[in-house]
Symmetry: C2
Subunit: 316 residues, 2 copies
Amino acid sequence: MQNCTFGQIGHDGRVTVERVGAELVAVVTAVAAGRPVVLTADEGRHLPFGPLRTEHHSMQAGLHAWVEHQTGHRLGYVEQLYTFADPARATTGGRVVSISYLGLTNAVGDRPGKAWRDWYSFFPWEDQRHDRPGEGLVREAIEPRLGAWVGQGDGTAEREARRLRADVCFGLGERAWSPELVLQRYELLYEAGLIPESPMASADLVVPGEAMAGDHRRILSTGLARLRAKIQYHPVVFELMPESFTLGQLQATVEALAGQALHKQNFRRLVTQQELVEPTGETHGETGGRPARMYRFRRAVLDERQVAGTKLPRTR
Amino acid sequence: MQNCTFGQIGHDGRVTVERVGAELVAVVTAVAAGRPVVLTADEGRHLPFGPLRTEHHSMQAGLHAWVEHQTGHRLGYVEQLYTFADPARATTGGRVVSISYLGLTNAVGDRPGKAWRDWYSFFPWEDQRHDRPGEGLVREAIEPRLGAWVGQGDGTAEREARRLRADVCFGLGERAWSPELVLQRYELLYEAGLIPESPMASADLVVPGEAMAGDHRRILSTGLARLRAKIQYHPVVFELMPESFTLGQLQATVEALAGQALHKQNFRRLVTQQELVEPTGETHGETGGRPARMYRFRRAVLDERQVAGTKLPRTR
DNA sequence: TCAAAAGTGTTATCCTTACACCCATGT
DNA sequence: ACATGGGTGTAAGGATAACACTTTTGA
């Protein structure tokens, strides 16, 4: 049993616990004026990160305090994302364990500021809000290059597997685009050598989109994936909204996250029928059309329903 | 980047990465003869755990190797659960980061053996397969004791909040029981002092169910919660099944995990219509009735559908 | 008057739930 | 014969998707 990873089970000999470096990495997002943004450091090359410290009760508390100090705004929601501990991440100082978190906040100011960067500058293919079916970056740049990658597979079976994978990830052929496959798409592009971080990348085939240092763009993609999935069964969108808002603004925020346009009437019905919001009584001009009623999030739903949240009515 | 590290929040300005102990904790489960079981150590007092070692490419690989060595069976599925790093977990050796994993395997032998323990010996209230509505442990032991806890709240508002929380967690009043709230229920019982691990526990009020050392029962409850949630949208049940099986066996396995009886006809339709399985052509006697057709999991669905899985038709 | 966005109503379709019933085997 | 579990069909209800249309503002 000594040569098993876990060492001795059941006997309290914790003596051999290896000591490793521990750091936190944060994916903090907000939505400002219909643009989803993420907090970055170092001119967008890194996500904010730093050593784990003992001074806080929990990592969550530490993250709250730190982001609030940085941005001046409360973090409405924090959730652990993933812990990375691959030996490949080891630095000169030895093995490093990186614990990543997803955090949501509202109010960044009206536009992406210095440290806030648009999600889609890192993942342009994830924004399909303005694409018409059969057009856009995926069709024009990604599909053909993936086609070449498919063709390079060894043997029919391998090529078939590659085609299937490409089709599922990017909604090619008759398949539907699934917003929550952000990570799978990133990994596919990585393996196909279409992004600069990849060792197989060739400069002339690389797809648009800013890279980040190390695996930070990969961590960011897990963050987006998690948020896109979460939004469908838990009312977390409201952590990104101001106190009161119009249904149009709410829809724009969801669309910004999902990267998809939503069906207006059905979106409204879904939100109102589920009693997620209540009218404040006020209205909001400056909409370019008829003034809209303002609503606020009914916080009570967080207690009433541990399950169930904001479903997305399909695109269009 | 330098001024964006988490380290700068405190006023002492150290920038060194703190070195901590790192350990793995595993929730490895299987289903044997309709009983969901979990691998334990130390007579059920601990989950298997041990120091993180450098010799494997990744933690996942290490866990695979270790469990396969221990049980002689392949781990079909491994997923990271959560990373705990609260200072409260520190031992004499300093702060410890515990990375927990969920692992699924089939074939344990026909009955729970020495190291394998029934889930529900730790969480008797989570097994409602044989309860009739209005009966069972929850109604008889838990509801009244939670009622007392509700009554001890300070002021009407606090008591109302407590009542709501109890009702949602345990499906009291008109509310439905939600199988996936395992962790929330454990935490509520903890806070109400109804389980022995709790500092507020009084021996005569404690609810049935074996305790574990430290926070291992809490970790186990996150494992069950994750598995119950996952089963609804990803076809992971099949990792717990033998190569070929009858639909009745499959249903029994799902019921064992969910802790709920399922509607037979609808369960079968759901499974077959989604094309999750294909008939092997063989049949199986020893059912006590008409011989059943055998099926195998259609592994291709894992490639075809990254989303979508085994929905649970409601109880009964 | 027209564009633009808010807001209402209705219908077709699909999925879930529930119920009723038949089939093949062992005792 | 009947108990037991396997297996099929179908109708009711609810949720979603799609479409058509009205209302209220500013330019």
